[in-house]
Amino acid sequence: MESHLVTHAPAVRTVRDYRPRLISALGPLTAFTGVVWAIAQPYRITLLHPHHQGFWWLVAEPPLLVVAAGLAFSLLIARPLLADLAEDDATA
């Protein structure tokens, strides 16, 4: 005789499961947006035509600032946060 004792319920994915992916994606997505902006409006990148440009025009380049914000978030915020998320999931 064979009886069906154990039922395998399909795993239900919750927002909690997507948290690491969302956190990992935020920084690269921001940086990618900056790259797309640079391609769409290359004249906003003064480094492409740097001659006779003042200091501030070479420093303040909005698409590159967006890329920098994305990278800074990825390296300084997202990385330790992902480690804590993994730790939290392991203890849960």
């Binding site: 948290r19 935020l26 501030w56 303040a60 909005p62 600032l65 914000a69 915020i77 946060l81 804590d84």
Partner: protein, 194 residues
């Protein structure tokens, strides 16, 4: 040697973008994980306080009228008070939950400051349009942190608060000293540059 006013807007946009990303990640992971490292709890209040502090040199070097100066001064104080109140709350120095009202009030004052110091009509130039748009966005957006005061654990309010800063950053990045908006540029504004 002084940067143009539009560049200052872009630098502030970068600060607000980072602030938006930080708040968004905080909303995603929740309070428990976010507070696992103590420095993270201080992050967004410190950035808000620093942005308020940086508003003082903007007031000193980039204002060309009394109303400009007063608006930026009030703005600097509102941002610093909001940041300082949040710092006090997370550090445990302040206990009354009403201190949380400093953030919606700060954002409301910021919005009013934008509206008050823009003397031109919406379609005068791009900067005028954006000042009106940002002003009204912040005035209406101040309802979001007000909602957070009432429902601090609401993911919806937390995410909306983060996206408010991302939207603010996008608008600030669009700012130019002298450029048309939707094909409109008042002849009184002067010739557009680059």
């Amino acid at each position: 040697m002084q940067p143009r006013s539009e560049m200052v807007h872009w630098f502030f946009a970068t600060g607000f973008l980072l602030l938006g990303l930080i708040l968004l990640s905080q909303a995603i992971v929740g309070e428990a994980v976010w507070a696992r490292r103590r420095w993270r709890v201080y992050l967004w209040p410190s950035i808000a306080f620093a942005l308020g502090l940086l508003m003082w040199p903007v007031m000193t070097f980039f204002t060309n009228s009394a109303i400009h100066m007063l608006a930026h001064g009030a703005w600097a104080q509102a941002l610093m008070v909001a940041g300082a109140a949040e710092l006090g709350l997370v550090h445990g120095k302040l206990h009354n939950r009403l201190w949380r009202l400093a953030t919606p009030v700060g954002i409301f004052v910021s919005g009013v400051a934008f509206l008050v110091h823009e003397q031109n009509a919406w379609l005068f130039a791009r900067s005028a349009f954006l000042h009106h748009l940002i002003g009204w966005t912040l005035v209406c957006g101040s309802l979001v942190p007000l909602g957070l005061v009432l429902r601090p654990r609401s993911t919806l309010f937390q995410s909306a608060f983060a996206l408010l800063f991302v939207a603010l950053a996008v608008m600030l990045y669009c700012d130019r000293d002298l450029a048309p908006v939707f094909g409109h540029l008042s002849p009184l504004a002067g010739p557009p540059h680059r």
